[in-house]
Symmetry: C2
Subunit: 252 residues, 2 copies
Amino acid sequence: MERPLILVSNDDGYKAKGINCLVRVLMEFGDVVVVAPHTGRSGKGCAITSEVPIKVWEVAAEPGLQVYACTGTPSDCVKLACHSVVPRTPSLVIGGINHGDNSAVNAHYSGTMGVVLEGCMKGIPSIAFSLCSHDEDADFSPTFPYIRRIVAEVLQRGLPAGSCLNVNFPDAPSYAGVKVCRQAIGSWVNEWEAHTHPRGGQWWWLTGEFVIEDSDEGADRVALNNNYVAITPTKIDFTDYSLLAEMQGWGL
Amino acid sequence: MERPLILVSNDDGYKAKGINCLVRVLMEFGDVVVVAPHTGRSGKGCAITSEVPIKVWEVAAEPGLQVYACTGTPSDCVKLACHSVVPRTPSLVIGGINHGDNSAVNAHYSGTMGVVLEGCMKGIPSIAFSLCSHDEDADFSPTFPYIRRIVAEVLQRGLPAGSCLNVNFPDAPSYAGVKVCRQAIGSWVNEWEAHTHPRGGQWWWLTGEFVIEDSDEGADRVALNNNYVAITPTKIDFTDYSLLAEMQGWGL
């Protein structure tokens, strides 16, 4: 039997420690193809590149592993990989391990989730892994046994069409366990810092603090704060069905 | 009583015909502040700019209207507008009128939806309007009576916390009516076209065709094909609650 083919991408770029750690764990399960941004593309969400052409090239290869860099966004990487890089449809699309939290509303801004939503749109079981640390040299090793368990389950069970997993790990040397969660409610505040350009004029840097408006242990950001690994099952279809039903009575 | 304040942005840039048509309709309802990309930022989804600072500047003003250009993404525009441009919290955040379809999975790639999801995250009732035509000089006038009706309803009723509206108009001189819809199921195929650079090397342009895998009249892309205005109520929370329940039994 052929080994599973696993497509991997991220938003921190192919050189990041997180993706290189992830690849070593995934090679236990199958042949790995990496198609990842040539440089950091954090916060790109599901952005795609339509105004310029993009390029992909091989940067490394060894038995069971091929690594390609790409000038596109994380979503572009998956689109182009499926179109012209991988030799057959992958069994899994995996994003990460991201350097930083992608829980709560951050899932919408996340290029790691861009990877995984794109894999999911292509009908491939897809999983995002993120560690709640922006440290370039973060210790990813506590995540490995959990990644092994989750990948093994998904390879065996599959995932429903249109659904993917968003897995976030606390920034800790060990974890309290795993919680399957919903997206926590919360919002960003104090998001901009004004700076004056050396030649004058005001420029704004994006910064801010995330405020949780949720105390439920079943909400991903809360579970993370309690040192649990948070798995948030996530859908491509973000229709609000209850508002849909209510609006039928609006008489539009 | 103060007139409502309406914040408007888009992903085609502040000079686009769509946003300028929209502004004229919205000025009937309140004071309008536009903070929109200085150039086209289509396909940017919920992308945010963290690696460089951004800038915002006034480009036009008249009684009841102020227009600012911004170097950021559509989401950045809303974030920065709320932080440092608008004098008070807007009553509405409106995105559009987009030159092109944002139904089905396109909602994830859409900068117009980036505007509206961001407004929604900030607790403001938010509506995206898109016309299924990429023509720079498209005729937006058939949309005006529908925009008036939808804006009036939302100003009066509000929207539930965490929900916003994604409104798409067919490319037609008149419409069959309005349908409140769910996101249609479908996917993009043949997404890349290879080109050779004048100095050699292969580059890829994003293109493709969208294939609907849905025939339900209540799916947005299907309703549009039947010449209906499609209103898709959309949630920030895209947790898959049924998979969440199922995964409690996985023993992770």
